[in-house]
Subunit: 318 residues, 2 copies
């Protein structure tokens, strides 16, 4: 396959991401993109997906890499309750990457961009030794949700599934024949094709007092929310178990691993964790615990509580 | 030196970049940053600086890496005539990077952030094999300048210096004793500490018809402007030579290389190239040529013209 120059790539991406979305005055191809003025506050975030750390090409195709890196970034908008407006993509590409692979990567980004209704309006392409996709997302919302706002007496809500993606990743690391077992299918899909819970986030912005997206595991992200709000969060083991997806239970059994552990410590499902008054809980938000005064996160076992050790650290991983 | 956890880093960065700027409702530390609504259109861009491609640690300290990566991104705002509002920084850090080095990197980002009046409001830290800094910038402007707008009969303006940074980089690649010769001092400084021409960009937005920042070299970026506007640009060799900085002439002589070649093909000074009616040329914009109908970029030699071959390609470099 012929090598394409950078200009040809920019042309191709301009066609691929041509957007007629309202609010985009100028998309890919100039020094910067131009977005129409907006009467609401803006919410902006950036997230990176790095080969060898966030994914390995031997068990994920680049279309999935493009898709999930985009959804992971959009998930930060969901956690703030924001409506997506636009995204930018900065790619670092190793010299040997075939054009067809780059094509797959951008197709995955397009899939996610369409699903999230978040047009990709610009970006950057650079050479490097290791493949990475860094996605900036911009959204807007009248009253953004932050992590600081949980108050004692409120409920702890889980929106979406937890643990499936981590179980899926564990399955993908098995020898291929085992990884393809049907018991893992939904877990693997959860890891490959996570979805930012944007609609739910927008609903939560009207009723919740704080929210965070679960990217590093429920335990770790609950710690972050507790710290930012200056409260203690108590997770009910019984309620959390009741909230687990049957596919996680089946996958964990086949892996001979603990479903609860996947649920507490597995990230990358991009579920939302929120707090709010019980009377305002939306039906699709599962009450898995409550907020008290104090600090940290406890697991309530029915008869007593134990601290949940969180502490996923991006810098510790190498 | 003790290793810091990611949370400690986020805390440190939150202190370092604590901003009281108007328009920043929430900075570093949550799922996303929040910017106040703005009555003007937004301009957004992203730029990456990758070790081994854009810099090598053997001849640049990380404080300069942080500084110049930020200015390079801000330069895209200058080219659009936009006022900076905020920036996000996504860092990919190799496992062995000492905390003191990361500290230097963020100090360089802070230097540039203060100079550009562009608060850093959020970001991401990830592990990777190779150091990179990806900077997203957001700005606003009532009437953004694009690359498309040059019309035959207008002048071609150069704002700022060209070629110095490339000569500086060539000097840095010499054996250290030679690189430190005084003939190179201003060239090396131009490469290490480029400045986005934000004020000039804002002025140009009122009088120019098109603009681009020169990151890949005058020849290459002029091609881009000509293509986007559907015109031909003619650069006068005499006028361009007259516009060159004496430090470039001295540095080129000491390197035994052509100053004109550095000026045409060296990038990373982050000068601005613009077009506009001659009557509106600001005194600090140097008229180095003109716009005609046709396509491409020509060098006028006094008696004839030759095409300038541009074509810096980020994907061809590896």
């Amino acid at each position: 396959m012929a090598k394409r120059t950078e200009r040809q790539w920019v042309e191709r991406l301009r066609e691929r991401f041509a957007s007629t979305a309202e609010g985009i005055a100028l998309g890919i191809g100039d020094d910067a993109a131009i977005l129409a003025a907006c009467a609401q506050p803006w919410v902006v975030s950036v997230d990176a997906s790095v080969e060898g750390v966030h994914f390995e090409r031997r068990f994920v195709g680049l279309r999935d890499v493009g898709y999930r890196s985009f959804q992971a970034a959009a998930s930060d908008l969901a956690a703030m309750g924001a409506e997506p407006v636009a995204a930018l993509s900065a790619l670092i590409l190793p010299a040997g990457l075939p054009p067809a692979e780059l094509d797959e990567l951008t197709l995955g980004q397009r899939d996610a961009s369409l699903e999230c209704r978040c047009p990709l309006v610009g970006g950057n392409i650079a050479r490097g030794k290791e493949l990475s996709v860094t996605t900036t997302v911009l959204g807007s919302v009248q009253r953004p949700l932050s992590r600081a706002g949980a108050r004692p007496g409120q409920q702890l809500w889980l929106v979406g599934r937890v643990g499936l993606a981590a179980a899926g990743l564990a399955a993908l690391r098995l020898p291929r024949a085992r990884a393809e077992a049907s018991a893992f299918a939904r877990c693997v899909q959860a890891w490959r094709r996570p979805r930012a819970l944007l609609e739910q986030g927008r609903e939560l912005a009207r009723v919740a007092t704080a929210a965070i997206d679960i990217s590093d595991g429920l335990a770790t992200d609950a710690q972050q929310l507790a710290r930012a709000s200056g409260v203690r969060l108590v997770v009910s083991r019984t309620r959390l178990l009741a909230a687990l997806d049957p596919a996680l239970l089946a996958g964990s059994r086949a892996l001979r691993r603990s479903a609860l552990r996947f649920a507490l410590h597995g990230g990358e499902d991009y579920a939302l964790l929120a707090t709010g008054p019980s009377a305002l809980r939306p039906p699709w938000a599962q009450a898995i615990g409550w907020v008290t005064s104090g600090q940290g996160v406890l697991l309530e076992l029915g008869g007593g509580t134990v601290p949940i050790a969180g502490g996923y650290d991006h810098l510790a991983r190498s």
